[in-house]
């Protein structure tokens, strides 16, 4: 995929701005709080239908406005396409070449954006929920219907938790929710496991190259009752049984404490959990290795390069790791958009286009400040 241009209207602090996106590297630079990350967020939003920074559509609409629009021109599978994502009074809609499309439309298969933001650098030490979210994003990048699957699970989970808190649900009603959770949950476990095993070898190799020392590995961890079985039907059955077993406890505590929403992506150094034993430097290298693995995986699976969005990552890395990051960017076919406050941190990447972002305006800039 090749992103060619971006237009944002009433998006965050932008009134109406557009910019041409470079075929290889696009740099968005400017002082803090000017809107650089907001532009990367817009690109991500257009392709993923959700933000990587917020779940509320109120945050992304320009203050005082009722709606926002993002328009992206891009090339996919040899065709020029235009995607228009709108939020109006909290309602989202998307059109592709003027036709309204669903978020998991096949027409967008292969159109993926991968984000790397400063908070991702601490992923190995972050709460498990963030690792699950990162994993879910990695699945979504190669399998768009996954978004719907996850949302269905989350909605059923909220429903069950509401019933548990009210404490008046009949057995049949809770049984029905368990059934839906088992069906949607087994799909999620299966897809997460698949993506972890696809990422694992690339991840180990990337870490060895960036950092060396102890070998790094990843694995998907579920409750033992689920972790020990394979196959969608078997996982579903294990979830059904586990939910039934935990129902009594769940009713007392008022929430569902069993299921894929409590799983974790375990990141290990040697035999130890990086979460508990990793040094600052190791944690960063692990995060970088995981992103590289994801990038390779998405390229391979989609047979289309994703667009890589690097938010402020350059300034968060030391010289060696930053160097490694730029080597990888230069060696991949994928298009990169990055934000920086200090342009001097960036090497002269081929085909680089620079834009200055200042108080919600975007201006073309030469390569050197």
């Amino acid at each position: 995929m090749l992103v060619k241009d971006l237009r944002v209207r009433n998006w965050r602090n932008f009134e109406d701005e557009n910019l041409r996106v470079g075929g290889e590297v696009t740099v968005l630079f400017g002082r803090n709080g000017q809107g650089k990350s907001n532009l990367l967020e817009a690109i991500y939003y257009a392709f993923a239908f959700r933000s990587f920074r917020t779940n509320s559509s109120r945050d992304i609409v320009r203050w005082g406005c009722s709606g926002a629009e993002i328009e992206v021109g891009f090339e996919l599978g040899g065709f020029d396409r235009r995607l228009l994502a709108c939020v109006e009074n909290g309602r989202r809609s998307t059109t592709l070449d003027g036709k309204s499309v669903r978020r998991d439309t096949d027409s967008l298969a292969g159109a993926a954006a991968i984000v790397f933001a400063p908070e991702d650098l601490r992923l190995a030490k972050a709460p498990a929920a963030e690792r699950r979210r990162a994993l879910d994003r990695a699945v979504f990048a190669v399998h768009r219907p996954y978004l719907r699957e996850v949302m269905a699970f989350e909605r059923a989970l909220k429903g069950r938790n509401t019933l548990l808190r009210r404490g008046e649900a009949t057995r049949e009603l809770l049984d029905s929710y368990d059934e839906i959770l088992a069906v949607t949950g087994s799909r999620i476990v299966l897809r997460r496991r698949q993506v972890v095993s696809a990422l694992a070898p690339q991840f180990a190799q990337a870490f060895a190259e960036i950092h060396g020392g102890a070998a790094a590995s990843i694995r998907y961890r579920s409750d033992g009752r689920v972790g020990s079985v394979e196959g969608e039907a078997e996982i579903g059955e294990a979830l059904r049984r586990g939910l039934a077993e935990s129902r009594g406890l769940d009713q007392r505590r008022g929430f569902t404490g069993f299921g894929p929403h409590t799983d974790d992506l375990e990141i290990l150094l040697g035999q130890r959990l990086a979460r508990e034993h990793g040094s600052q430097g190791q944690i960063r290298s692990l995060a970088l290795a995981l992103k590289f693995a994801e990038l390779l995986h998405v390229e391979e699976r989609n047979r289309e390069a994703p667009v890589l969005l690097l938010d402020d990552v350059a300034s968060e890395l030391d010289d060696v790791r930053r160097q490694r990051l730029f080597e990888v960017i230069a060696s991949r076919t994928c298009q990169t958009m990055m934000t920086v406050t200090e342009r001097r941190l960036l090497p002269d990447l081929p085909g680089r286009i620079d834009w200055q972002v200042r108080e919600g305006r975007v201006e073309a800039a030469g390569q050197e400040a």
């Binding site: 699957e149 269905a152 429903g159 649900a169 009603l173």
Partner: protein, 198 residues
């Protein structure tokens, strides 16, 4: 402005309609004001009639003028077959396919704990009663493939199956979390034909 009273009142009432915002409501209000008096009177009486003449069928809970409704009284309908839908407009959509020959049961919603809607808020007890009183052969659950629609379907099956009535689910081909495209008759007709046991 005291003279704005009746206009403002109409605008407020119109704006309560789904899909109508303040602006549209104001435009409609001024349109009605400018239109011939008999048009406004016809609209007003149509709205009043709607509420005074339309009630719920005591068997299937669909909207009707006569109780029981035309479909419930239709002798040519297959007596053993019941299609459960969430809303009266779903009956209209399925009737339009022309392929379904049984009768209906309208729940008036789907289970949704998040919106505070439980079994007692829907016509579920009435459905269960029909299952034991009428000699039904099959109950087809045609709720949307949303999480709420699927959960409602599973729940109904749990209540109905023990009564010895076969329960099936329409095959939407749409993954869970989707919306049935009722606009497309062919899809809906196929969904009913391709139903599976719940």
């Amino acid at each position: 402005m005291s003279s704005a009273g009746p206009i403002a009142r109409l605008v407020v009432e119109l704006a309560k309609l789904p899909g109508v915002g303040e602006k549209t409501a104001a435009r409609l209000a001024f349109h009605i004001l400018r239109a011939p008096a008999e048009d406004a009177a016809a609209l007003a009486s149509a709205i009043t009639d709607l509420r005074s003449k339309i009630r719920l069928c005591s068997r299937c809970w669909n909207f009707t003028e006569a109780d029981p409704c035309d479909i419930c009284r239709d002798e040519r309908r297959e007596p053993g077959l019941l299609c459960v839908v969430a809303h009266p407009q779903d009956v209209v959509a399925i009737e339009r396919t022309g392929g379904y020959r049984g009768r209906y049961h309208v729940l008036h919603g789907v289970l949704s704990p998040l919106d505070g809607i439980g079994p007692e808020d829907l016509r579920i007890a009435e459905l269960v009663r029909r299952c034991s009183e009428e000699s039904l052969r099959e109950v087809i659950v045609a709720t949307n493939p949303s999480v709420e629609g699927e959960t409602t379907a599973v729940y109904l099956a749990k209540l109905i199956r023990p009564l010895g009535v076969r329960t099936s689910r329409i095959a939407t081909g749409v993954p869970m979390g989707g919306e049935l495209e009722y606009a497309d008759r062919l899809t809906l007709a196929r969904a009913i034909d391709g139903r599976r046991e719940l």
